[in-house]
């Protein structure tokens, strides 16, 4: 078990290194191959009034004249050993892990990222609880009452949930519940209250995003659970369980659902991992200052240190979530042994 975890952690570190190289190449190598010069790359870091000399100074300062390997090495060194930043009157230390400084906000990327984590985590985990409970429960009931009105209705709603893009359901929910028409209910938008500041406001500010996000995922989970349950409930061991005289509730929950959970757990790990890296559309629609909004704002403003930081951070969550899922397989399915 321990060996397995160590091996997976080494693999995870290698994966993150590869992701960082690929991301770096996308933003620094590909433009160069397409004809960009160090000066043209530097123009996005200088003001709108910069002349050629100022652009050249910026390119030198940013190390754009150095070979790309050297530039990547400097970036990687910053993450491992930290870096320095000239803010005018003095030089500031950027301790490891230093993902660099945003050249637009003049803030170090790492604390900025950490600042966004509670928002995204609140959104992702809260929505995950809703979609797992609602999706799995709906899937189980639909499977047990296959062909019933409930089954058909639930699957129709699920189809809608999967089909409707989040920017539509998000905007629709805001129109109905937040802008004062047609209902005079005003839920806050564009704000986030930290849990430890005020748990009630925290939940209130997230209820619409949770439901919107969960609606999308719950639909998929309901369909997946239904299909899994239909298959599992026809297995021989279910018949055996019933033959042993177990209560139907035990048969369904302990034997049927447990067997159907493995693929759901796999996809759940991936989904949560991805969402922890930023629910871009949900956060943008509701103006939540999370990782996804941070990423999209960074991309729109071409703030490359931020983009690099958020990509690596998101990749970290996906890798970690996968690791946790792999470990949980052994818990859910006794046939799985980690070695």
């Amino acid at each position: 078990m321990v060996t397995y975890i160590i091996r997976r952690l080494i693999w995870a570190a290698a994966m993150l290194t590869i992701v960082s190289i690929v991301t770096f190449a996308i933003f620094f190598l590909v433009p160069r191959l397409a004809g960009a010069t160090p000066e043209s790359l530097a123009t996005r870091y200088v003001g709108r009034t910069a002349n050629a000399e100022q652009v050249k100074i910026a390119a030198e300062k940013l190390g754009f004249y150095d070979p790309l390997v050297v530039q990547y090495g400097r970036f990687a060194k910053g993450i491992v050993a930290g870096s320095e930043y000239d803010y005018g009157p003095g030089v500031e230390q950027c301790p490891a892990p230093c993902f660099g400084y945003s050249f637009l906000t003049r803030l170090p990327v790492w604390p900025d990222l950490l600042d966004r984590v509670p928002v995204t985590m609140s959104l992702a985990l809260g929505a995950a609880v809703i979609w797992v409970l609602a999706g799995v429960a709906t899937g189980v009931v639909s499977a047990l009452r296959r062909g019933s009105f409930f089954d058909r209705a639930a699957m129709t709603v699920a189809l809608g949930g999967v089909s409707l893009p989040i920017f539509f359901t998000g905007m629709a929910s805001l129109v109905v519940f937040s802008y004062g028409y047609p209902f005079e209910i005003t839920a806050p938008g564009g704000s986030f209250t930290p849990f430890f500041e005020n748990p009630v406001d925290w939940a209130y500010s997230l209820i619409l995003p949770w439901i919107t996000l969960a609606f999308l995922y719950a639909a998929g989970y309901a369909r997946l659970t239904r299909a899994g349950m239909l298959e599992t409930m026809n297995e021989d061991y279910i018949r055996t369980a019933r033959a042993k005289g177990l209560a139907e509730r035990t048969v369904v929950l302990k034997h049927g659902l447990r067997g159907a959970l493995t693929p759901i757990l796999t996809i759940f790990g991936l989904d949560v991992g991805l969402l922890l890296g930023g629910a871009v559309l949900t956060e943008s629609t509701y103006s939540l200052p999370g990782m996804g909004k941070y990423a999209i704002d960074a991309i729109n403003s071409q703030d490359l240190p931020k983009v690099m930081g958020v990509v690596l951070f998101a990749a970290f969550f996906v890798v970690v979530a996968n690791l946790i899922v792999d470990l949980l397989y052994a818990v859910v399915d006794p046939r799985v042994r980690l070695s």
């Binding site: 009034t49 002349n51 100022q54 652009v55 005018g88």
Partner: protein, 590 residues
């Protein structure tokens, strides 16, 4: 209103070296000189806030909620170059002069702020002196002196630390050679550029005459900065206020809160009523969400002031009640097409005139969003809000504004191309409006045989490598180029300097002037720069406008307009012409 800039600092020999924006514990009384709410105020109808004050009130208290779909370039007064930011910065900073907080054309007038009066120029307009009011303090109670103003200006010169600002002071002050600001050139004597003979006097020395330096004195860089509390690039995180409000909380990327500055003395400030108790500002908020929240009353102001987006347009214009609570100001931005006289056959003035006559101005307007959200059809360069603007149209495009094809063919014949000619039209690939305008021109000019081929280029290199690089434009036959310009302040100097002066055109590219090469225009610009009489100066701007249009170097498209929706909770709402958006100083809470 964003004042986006695409140019670097441009030089005109030793004369014009500008970097202009292209494309772009309060008191219980209201100071008597600020925008005075009339007892009745303007009737709350469409465009009422353009010339009057809607919901006049002098009630104090309450908090106004602002939202920004993006974020400030910087809240630091020495490092900001957005029009909305210059409007907003007056809440927490006081510059030497400022635009009057008043509706209509009065908003275009300068008035003393930190200074006791307007600038006193020397005879040659190369030295400008300002006296600073006494009793003015920073938020920490420290008295503000001329040295704080000087320091604020000097630090803003360091474009490595403050890259977002303008370069007016870099270009015009008589600075010591190789001076790079107080961080890198520490201890260097800068008295030859800015003198502070006593705590209340500041004297600016320029390299050349500048008749309208007072406009420089209203720039946010003249907002005082205490040297002891300057943290360079990090100063934006905690700015020391000199205005009626100060920062209580500032989370860059998310938003900030302004509260009353207990050390602001209204007796020294007749310009600011300072009615609300504070401001809550959210940044990076979904643009459609902002529009909807303003319409529902949950939010008060979309701070960037560029108007509501397409998604909410129908709701505003389609509902008479909502429309009555909106305003449609014209900004000082012109979208236009440069007609490059370096590219044959457009080196012939008649070929250029044929383009002017054949253009369909209605389709051009539609390409930019139509009459309300796009703009007003332009007939010359200077927008109506800029002094010197005169209504004239040398190339009337027919009664329906869709082009005068007979006149166009007449000029084609005169230029030896009776069947038309072929050329290319460039536009910035990331800008769908420019593409649509280029397509509209392609169709319109095709009616007289002028065949245009569309050439998109990346906006980052548009002026430096493509349309703005004379050699490239000529070799690749870019006869027409989509372009845009907005002045930094409502004055001919700010509007025309960078787009009609042939001396800003460099072989290496980078100039926003792509097409105007007329020595007489250059001469007129020099005359205007030295003319201290405003009326005479404004007449020169008019003459320049006419001269450029006579040469048919520029096809004016539209003067932009925006549709602003008034807050349901705010009082004293009016549009300030200097910014083309609601004046943020006047607003109060119901």
């Amino acid at each position: 209103m964003k004042r986006r800039t695409t140019t670097g600092a441009a030089a005109v020999g030793a004369v014009l070296a500008l970097a202009l924006s292209a494309c772009g514990g309060g008191s219980s009384t209201t100071p008597k000189d600020s925008a005075k709410p009339a007892a009745d105020g303007a009737k709350a109808e469409f465009n009422a806030a353009l010339t009057g004050i809607v919901n006049p009130s002098d009630k104090k208290g309450g908090v106004l909620k602002f939202a920004n779909e993006g974020d400030w370039d910087s809240l630091d007064p020495g490092d900001t170059y957005y029009g909305y930011s210059w409007n907003f910065v007056r809440l927490y900073g006081r510059s030497l002069l400022m635009f009057k907080s008043a509706p209509g054309k009065e908003g275009n007038e300068l008035t003393p702020d930190l200074a006791e009066g307007m600038g006193t120029p020397s005879d040659d307009a190369k030295t400008w002196t300002y006296k600073i009011k006494s009793g003015v303090k920073f938020e920490d109670g420290t008295p503000i002196t001329s040295k704080d103003v000087k320091y604020g200006v000097l630090r803003s010169l360091d474009k490595e630390v403050f890259p977002d600002g303008y370069t007016y002071f870099n270009d015009f002050l008589d600075l010591p050679k190789d001076y790079k600001g107080p961080y890198k050139s520490k201890g260097v004597n800068t008295d030859k550029a800015i003198e502070t003979p006593d705590d209340q006097t500041i004297v600016f020395h320029l390299k050349q005459p500048l008749s309208n330096f007072d406009y420089f004195a209203q720039l946010p860089a003249t907002i005082p900065v205490p040297e002891a509390k300057d943290t360079g690039a990090k100063y934006r995180e905690h700015i020391i206020a000199s205005g009626p409000y100060m920062f209580q909380k500032n989370e860059i990327g998310k938003g900030f809160t302004l509260v009353r500055n207990p050390n602001w003395d209204p007796a020294t400030d007749p310009n600011r009523p300072a009615l609300p108790d504070g401001f809550e500002v959210s940044t990076n908020v979904n643009a459609d969400d902002i529009d909807n929240r303003i319409l529902s009353g949950d939010l008060d102001v979309a701070v960037i002031g560029t108007g509501i987006k397409q998604a909410a347009l129908g709701r505003v214009l389609g509902d008479p009640a909502v429309k009555a609570a909106s305003d449609n100001p014209t900004s000082t931005r012109l979208w236009y097409t440069s007609i490059n006289g370096n590219v044959p056959p457009l080196d012939n003035i008649d070929c250029r005139k044929a383009v002017q006559y054949a253009a369909n101005k209605v389709d051009y307007q539609t390409a930019f969003g139509g009459e309300v959200a796009g703009g007003q059809i332009a007939t010359s360069l200077l927008p109506p809000a800029i002094p010197g603007h005169e209504d004239f149209n040398l190339y009337p495009p027919g009664a329906d504004n869709k082009g005068d094809l007979a006149k166009a063919k007449e000029h084609l014949t005169a230029c030896g191309q009776p069947d038309g000619f072929e050329t290319n039209i460039s536009y910035r690939a990331e800008r769908p409006n420019e593409k649509a305008a280029a397509e509209a021109l392609q169709q319109a000019l095709g009616r007289v045989g002028i065949k245009l081929t569309l050439k998109p280029f990346p906006q980052a290199d548009y002026f430096a490598l493509y349309a703005g690089k004379p050699g490239y434009a000529k070799d690749n036959k870019i006869g027409l180029a989509q372009n845009g310009w907005m002045s930094d302040w409502p004055d001919g100097f700010g509007f025309l300097g960078q787009i009609v002066d042939s001396r800003v055109i460099r072989d290496t590219g980078g100039s926003s002037n792509i097409s105007v090469r007329d020595p007489e225009v250059d001469k007129l610009l020099d005359q205007a720069m030295a003319e201290t009489d405003k009326t005479k100066r404004d007449a020169i701007w008019t003459a320049i406008d006419k001269k450029v249009m006579e040469g048919a170097y520029i096809l004016p498209g539209i003067w932009t307009k925006s549709l602003l929706v008034r807050s349901k909770n705010a009082t004293n709402i009016f549009v300030n012409d200097a910014y083309g958006m609601y004046d943020y100083l006047g607003l109060g809470v119901k």
